[in-house]
Symmetry: C2
């Protein structure tokens, strides 16, 4: 095959108590790439649609091409590729936009090369793209975008990525308020030391969340969806943060928090109706503050990125 | 029934990465209590066997009687009880000795009262005994001793105790070196603040451990049995700590660490032979340092405390 179209979904990193170790994939929206084998041996970005001209065409800077180049370098399977990128995710929103492009690109280049690598083996190449996009080769967006479902990044040295085999249908609401929060600012505001007691609370909640997901105990999932480390500081970027969490719970959501480094907020719900009501309620909240917002409701995607043709 | 005999097992709190939130129960050894209904309305300790005269007979200070009194106060089911305590666990060793007496006592008094409460509901009364014994009403020994298996203490306010429904046969080696380490010293040595990155590592490991237990992924359990918070400081109390962990792994154990606040060390293994070899190897290590040690090997007990007659 000389042309591959691949899709990779938006993702929610952190998931409250899973700060820096947990992420999950949405069903939609997501980015698409079309990779075409070319006669020369270069990797280049031929076109980007939907980014408003903001993303670089430079193959050393675009996350899709960086991921493709990392794949080729590691496998030695070098051949010319043109990349056409269809951006459906808003940039810098905290829903894994750069990760989705990279995830789609590595899944596509692997398919174009005859699928020599497993999904897990593709993760490090997409992480290289994250390093270029935001300065840190983190995996909590790219891994769930590639693998689907809930993904644990247990460790980075060496990389230990575990897809949680969970059989639980959950729905996610994303509320993207049109506020500008730079990932680097959102990172800088975190304190390098924390109270031991907060670390214990966070551990208890992440253990509770994972137990609740495995045992389908939605009440336990709900009780565990709390972040005592990043959110108390990052929430200053989001007007009415505590009210937002409360509103989501009043709508019946299991929990809510900041998606990645924000400003997008996520809420998890047991069914689509609650997820939609939650979205409408939060959009109303932002409207009342004269902040425009977009609402996205989707099932948790259990399969991750897919080759579409 | 006017006489109840109950047994409650030794427990391992912390379990490396589960500092202050996780514990599990051994099959043996354990403490036994015999409760007898009396004609007056007092709770008193009639005899203690096996403690070398070290434990208090004063009912306001003995963990068994404190737990019984807490039960009676909360339920209003007041009647006279004499308590005979058979101590099989060494005191101050880090294997939940005070907790086992309290756990056996609450299970016995509940049976004597006609079982009005569930196992989960008994946990707070045994925690009161821990408050008397060591100044803090912690649950990570009493909860697994009462409930069995692996138990998560997700939170204390309000108390949220979850028995993990895990179907995995594991064996534990306890090595009790005859060193004196006071729980209060072991607690005091911990720093009240820690690095954010260590907190993230700990969260990743506890998430990995719980996932590994649910999915029966022994390699993941093994990779996750690390503690970057308490052990780096507490290990100063145990001569050759790093070598001990390494020796346990060389014997085939999944992991090893400090049991509770020590000085007992524990190792987890997938079968009894490895657990026994690990015990022999670690006893040899302590012998070479002229430190006498006791070795205890047992299956993880899935049921916890039991009424024996």
């Amino acid at each position: 095959m000389d042309t591959i179209r691949a899709y990779a979904p938006a993702t929610v990193a952190n998931v409250c108590c899973g700060f820096d170790i947990l992420g999950f994939a949405m069903d939609s929206p997501g980015d698409e790439v079309v990779l075409r084998r070319t006669r020369n041996d270069e990797v280049f970005v031929s076109a980007i649609h939907g980014d408003g001209g903001l993303l670089p065409l430079d193959p050393t800077k675009n996350t899709a091409s960086v991921a493709v180049r990392a794949f080729q370098e590691a496998t030695g399977l070098r051949f010319g590729v043109s990349i056409e990128l269809y951006k459906n995710l808003p940039l810098g929103s905290g829903m894994g936009s750069s990760a989705a492009s990279a995830a789609a690109a590595v899944v596509a280049i692997n398919a174009l090369a005859g699928s020599p690598l497993s999904r897990h083996e593709l993760v490090p190449f997409a992480m290289e793209a994250e390093r270029v996009a935001c300065g840190s080769a983190h995996a909590d967006n790219v891994a769930p975008s590639i693998l689907g479902g809930f993904v644990l990044i247990r460790d980075y040295q060496p990389l230990d990525v575990i897809k949680l085999p969970i059989d639980l249908e959950l729905y996610c609401t994303l509320v993207h308020p049109h506020l500008e929060v730079k990932t680097s600012d959102s990172r800088k505001i975190l304190r390098p030391v924390i109270a031991l007691k907060d670390s214990i609370t966070q551990s208890g909640n992440v253990a509770g969340l994972i137990t609740g997901l495995f045992t389908k105990d939605l009440s336990l999932v709900s009780r565990s969806l709390k972040d005592v480390i990043a959110e108390p500081v990052r929430s200053v970027f989001i007007p009415g943060y505590d009210r937002i969490r409360q509103m989501a719970m009043e709508c019946g959501a299991l929990g809510a928090g900041i998606s990645g480094s924000g400003p997008t907020m996520f809420a998890l719900s047991a069914n689509r109706e609650v997820a939609q009501q939650t979205g409408a309620r939060l959009q109303q909240h932002f409207s009342s503050l004269d902040i425009h917002s977009d609402i996205l409701v989707s099932k948790i995607n259990p399969e991750g990125a897919e080759v579409r043709s």
